[in-house]
Symmetry: C2
Subunit: 388 residues, 2 copies
Amino acid sequence: MTDASPNATQHIPLNRPRLIAPGPVEVSPQTLLALAQPQMHHRSPEARAKLVETRGKLTQLLGDPFEAVIVTGSGTAAFEGALVSTVPAGAKVVNASAGKFSERWGEMARRLCYDVTEVQKPWGELLDADEIASACQGAYALLITHSETSTGALHDLERIAAAAKATNPDLLIIVDGVTSYGVAELRAAAWNVDVIVSGSQKATATPPGLGFVLFSPQAEARLIKNTPKGFYLDLQRELSGQKDGNTPQTPAINLIYALDASLDRLLSVPREVLWAEKKRQNDALIAAGTALGCHSWASRPSPAVAVLVPPEGLGGKKMAAQLADMNQRALPGQAPHEDKVFRISTLGYADRYDALSVAGILEDAFSALGVPFQRGAAVAAAWQVISS
Amino acid sequence: MTDASPNATQHIPLNRPRLIAPGPVEVSPQTLLALAQPQMHHRSPEARAKLVETRGKLTQLLGDPFEAVIVTGSGTAAFEGALVSTVPAGAKVVNASAGKFSERWGEMARRLCYDVTEVQKPWGELLDADEIASACQGAYALLITHSETSTGALHDLERIAAAAKATNPDLLIIVDGVTSYGVAELRAAAWNVDVIVSGSQKATATPPGLGFVLFSPQAEARLIKNTPKGFYLDLQRELSGQKDGNTPQTPAINLIYALDASLDRLLSVPREVLWAEKKRQNDALIAAGTALGCHSWASRPSPAVAVLVPPEGLGGKKMAAQLADMNQRALPGQAPHEDKVFRISTLGYADRYDALSVAGILEDAFSALGVPFQRGAAVAAAWQVISS
């Protein structure tokens, strides 16, 4: 690491540390306070009522009358639960992949002995609706990632779902909405998708530890009783219990209280306002990066994360390490593209003015690394997006 | 209040609330956690050791071998303690005033029946060293406010103290350092000042409730035993007890633990770096305001607060109310100048990138109020100061 001058770094211990990664994210004081309440018991009437209330808010954030199940586990646990609870053993599953997370769902489905057909695009590219639709003939389910956090691509879920359902009306579409639910435009009912999976440490700005699955009425009707593919992640049983505030196993009840507090903030505005605001913030990050000679890896960027290809000679790992040296936690790329990109985000408890801060942070990181750029350009570009 | 368009305000519930007033200020998570520890007992060996440790850190932040006393009370309580514990009943006291807080010390000294001579300048102007020095002939003590939070002026304490001590070498100089200690250049020993008073909710970024008094060795030698002017605020007795970690009365012990955590952050850099960083932030706020047609009331601004005279037609109260509507807590002026200025600050747990955020917030406030300005000018001006 080359520092422009000692004076440029002496103040760094006074920097306010920020999580500017696409999860875990900054968490509000209200949410942290909810987490730290006197230990509640998950079998108490109050806690059962809270679970029902929080499930209702998850549905409200989606904006469609889906049934929500909260899983104590990561988004991967929730996705596995969605898969094994809706797709019969051995059924044909199409996995559409173009990045780390969508690849994981194919790996999961193969491990669980489904009959998996892969429809792949190179990382960073967009999935092709017709190609997917064609592969879905005769399939039971399609696994698709809406916002691919490894590449920053927001796939055209509306178009893909329409094409796939036109080919195969009985197809069950299971959406990895981990970094799209609550941040990107997602109209589950209108787009005819069946299952949405997400996790607490993303748009809902809650600490990690909870996954969510939202089922359409049609998907709920197809839930499998006593799935042989899972016990802990049997979501038919979970949903049945959770409708009354019961969970078959012990839930991370403090996190549920925290999630409830976080959802109140997100529900304080119409979902279109939330989507527009988060898109504006992420567009500002991309504009800042572009002004510094980076470019967005994805041609159709997710509002959850700016995945930026740095200028020639500056790797993603070096950039993420420099930001960490400044007490700002971003991410490099994911294997095998660790060094191709760096990833920054204001996905969580952060506002448009925090996005402006990140533009300044990027300039200072470039300056510290000795990468030439025009001082002020990233800040001006970000602010232009924010204030337009 | 005129809003430019409904679209410009719909996102406001998603804004992250900020304290951008010159106290109370933003407080770090580490400090809040220290406050929320299991209730400690102030007579336990651990709590007594913590008081001694925290007093040591207050001295270290000053940078001179003064003795620190922590008062449970506001900065005003600490100032009163400093006054009654060092100045004999009826003694001649010179009060130098040019704003709300310095006026208060004169009022206090008169109430306590000292023989008070006022040396006044209009609010916003700078105190005159020669005028003060001349008034100090035959006086026991000089009361002087270093950073005047009501006007944003940083008085030239070094020059004033030198002139006053040249006239009267035995003069005791009691400094209101409420918003200068820990933020503005303050070299107490070199400048030959005797007593420094401050409070927890300012540069030390701790919740309100503690005042501090730091005594030079000379001032300590002049502490009055059994002052007839106060019992709770008898700092001779306090200091004697606090040297061993004892307080005569019950202290706000949780706040002392919190203060200790806050001081660790400030002491993570040399004091010159801290002073330069906070000055840079405040200069950025003034530059942002200037780009919007405001100007600093003070010709020699304190690094603790930007006190800005808004353009003709826009009052300070309206501006502070608009910022509050955006969930950003600033302040108007103080009586009788409430409407003349508005006051903004990143005095507490806030960094240079937060100062950039405030520039954006100011632009959006002007936009919402329909005051004409060049979009981007304030952000660019602030960033230029920060990144230069």
